[in-house]
Symmetry: C2
Subunit: 280 residues, 2 copies
C-alpha cells in the first residue's frame, strides 16, 4: 500500500527547542511504510502572537496541500495550544495529552512556565559541559591522568565510530568519555597497552564490518593501504580477537546509530546502579 | 504545595534508546513544582522476555516505594506494551496514544518493527557524521577553505559556549559548524578578520554575562588576567560593540542550554527555507 504524501506537511511546534517533539514525531511516522512528508520546524512558539503567525503559515500550507496538516506539539500554555486546534490540522498534542493525567496522579496543578532552561548553570548542566570538554581533550589518544578521570573509554580501530559516540555520551548523558584508537602496532603487540589494562571495567570496544570500514576509509584516503579492503579485514579481525581475549564488551557500530551505541554503553554502565537502586 | 516524592520512581521504557521518551518525560515532570523522583532508564526492551524482566523490577520497586510508579513508554509492539499495563503503574504511553489516530488519519496500518536504526548508512546519517568531523576539524580556528564549506560560523570570546553549541548543531541537525574565537588582538583591531567578513550571512555571535564568564574562566586558569572580572567585562563589551557594528546576530548564552542556542541558530538559518517551502 502506497500512501500519496508528496503534498502533505508535518509541523513540529514547540514553545522551546522542538528537538524532543521532532524526534517523537519522526519516530511515530517511521512506522508508516513509505510515508514521507514535508517537514517544517516551528520552535520557540511561546506567545499568542507567535502562535498566530505560525497558524497563518499552517493555514496557507493546508490550503495549498489540499489536505490537513499533522501538527506535533509540545506547548505548555493551554491558550496557545487552543490556537493551533483552530487550524483544523490533526493535533498530536504531546503535552496536553499527558499533563492532566499526571496532574491528577500527583495531586497538584502543573505550572505553565516553560521549563527548558531552568537547569542552565545547575550542576547537572555544568557536568555535561565539562564532559564535552573532557571528551574533546581525550579524543584519539589519552594520558594516564585522563584514564583515571574517564568514566568510559572507547577502543576500536581507526574510523570505527569512537569519536561521534563519545561526544554523544558526553553531550546527552554527561559522561566523561575518552577514546583510544587501536593502531596496527597495538595489534602486532597483541595486547592492550599497559595503562589501559588497569581500566578494563570502563572499556567498551567498537567493531565494524570490514566492507563498511573500507568505504569510510576510502572517502578519507582513496587508494591507500590504510583504506584497502584487505587491510580493513585484517585490522578488524585482529582487533576482535584481542578484545575478545581481553574480555572487553564489543558493540558492532555497522548498523547502529550514534544514539544506539551510546545508549547501549550507558545501559551497561548503569546496570549495576539500577540494581542497587531497586535494592535500596 | 510540596509533593513528597522521595519514594516514587519514574521509569523511562523504550524498545530503542529511550532518549526521546526520557526527554519528554523530564519535560512533563519539570512542570510540577518541586517534584523530583528517582529515575530509572530501561532502553532496548524489545522482546517479551526483556519486558518481563523489566516488569519484575518495576513491581519490586512499587512494593518498596509503597506507591505506584510512573511509566513513560515508547514501545511499538502492542503485546509488549500490554505487559507493562499489568504492573498497575501509571502509563504515559507515548506511542500507543498517538499511533492509532495517526493510522486512521493516514488510512494505513502502522508496522510494528522498531525503526530507529533503519537510516544508518543513509545519506542523512552520513551527513551528520561528516558534520561532526567537520566541526571537530574547525574548532577554535578556521582556514579559508573551512569558511567556504561551513554552513554556520559561531564567533565569540573564549569560553562563551561556541564549542558545545557547534558540536550539538552538527550532531543533532547535521549542520557543518565552524568556530571562530574572538581574541584580544581582534578586539583591538576592532574589525572582523578579512576572511570572516565575506561570510556574514552564516555568522552567529555568542555573548555571555561577564560575571559568568569570569567564573567559567577561573575554573580553567585561576588568578589569571584572562579570568579576571575586569578583563572579562572589557572583552565582552568590546566584542558586543564589534558584533553590533558588523550586523552579526547575537545570542546570549548565559541562561540558555546548548539545545536552545543551537535551535535558535538553526531556526534563523531555516527561516528563509521555510518561507520558500510555504510558497511552493
Amino acid at each position: 500500500m502506497v500512501y500519496n504524501c508528496t503534498k502533505r506537511t508535518i509541523f513540529f511546534i514547540s514553545d522551546s527547542t522542538g528537538i524532543t517533539v521532532e524526534a517523537l514525531g519522526l519516530c511515530l511516522l517511521s512506522h508508516f511504510e513509505g510515508v514521507t512528508m514535508r517537514q517544517v520546524r516551528m520552535p520557540f512558539v511561546d506567545s499568542e502572537q507567535k502562535a498566530r503567525e505560525a497558524v497563518e503559515i499552517i493555514n496557507a500550507t493546508q490550503a495549498k496541500d489540499g489536505v490537513r496538516a499533522i501538527l506535533c506539539m509540545t506547548i505548555v500554555n493551554p491558550s496557545i495550544r487552543a490556537l493551533f486546534q483552530l487550524t483544523g490540522g490533526m493535533c498530536l498534542d504531546m503535552f496536553g495529552t499527558f499533563v492532566n493525567p499526571l496532574s491528577s496522579e500527583l495531586g497538584m496543578p502543573a505550572n505553565e512556565t516553560i521549563g527548558m532552561s531552568r537547569n542552565v548553570g545547575g550542576s547537572e548542566y555544568r557536568d555535561r559541559i565539562e564532559a564535552i570538554n573532557f571528551t574533546l581533550g581525550h579524543d584519539d589518544g589519552i594520558s594516564d591522568n585522563g584514564l583515571q578521570e574517564a568514566e568510559a573509554i572507547l577502543v576500536g580501530v581507526s574510523r570505527s565510530g569512537k569519536t561521534p559516540a563519545s561526544l554523544y555520551m558526553a553531550m546527552q548523558f554527561g559522561i566523561r568519555t575518552a577514546n583510544y584508537p587501536i593502531i596496527p602496532e597495538d595489534l602486532e603487540r597483541d595486547t592492550l597497552p599497559g595503562t589501559l589494562a588497569n581500566h578494563r571495567d570502563k572499556i567498551f570496544g567498537l567493531t565494524i564490518d570490514p566492507e563498511r570500514l573500507h568505504k569510510i576509509r576510502t572517502e578519507r584516503r582513496p587508494n591507500s593501504r590504510y583504506a584497502s579492503l584487505d587491510n580493513c579485514k585484517e585490522e578488524v579481525r585482529m582487533a576482535e580477537v584481542m578484545m575478545h581475549r581481553e574480555g572487553i564488551n564489543m558493540i558492532d557500530s555497522t548498523s547502529r546509530s550514534v544514539e544506539e551505541i551510546s545508549s547501549m554503553i550507558v545501559q551497561q554502565l548503569t546496570m549495576r546502579q539500577n540494581k542497587r537502586l531497586v535494592g535500596y
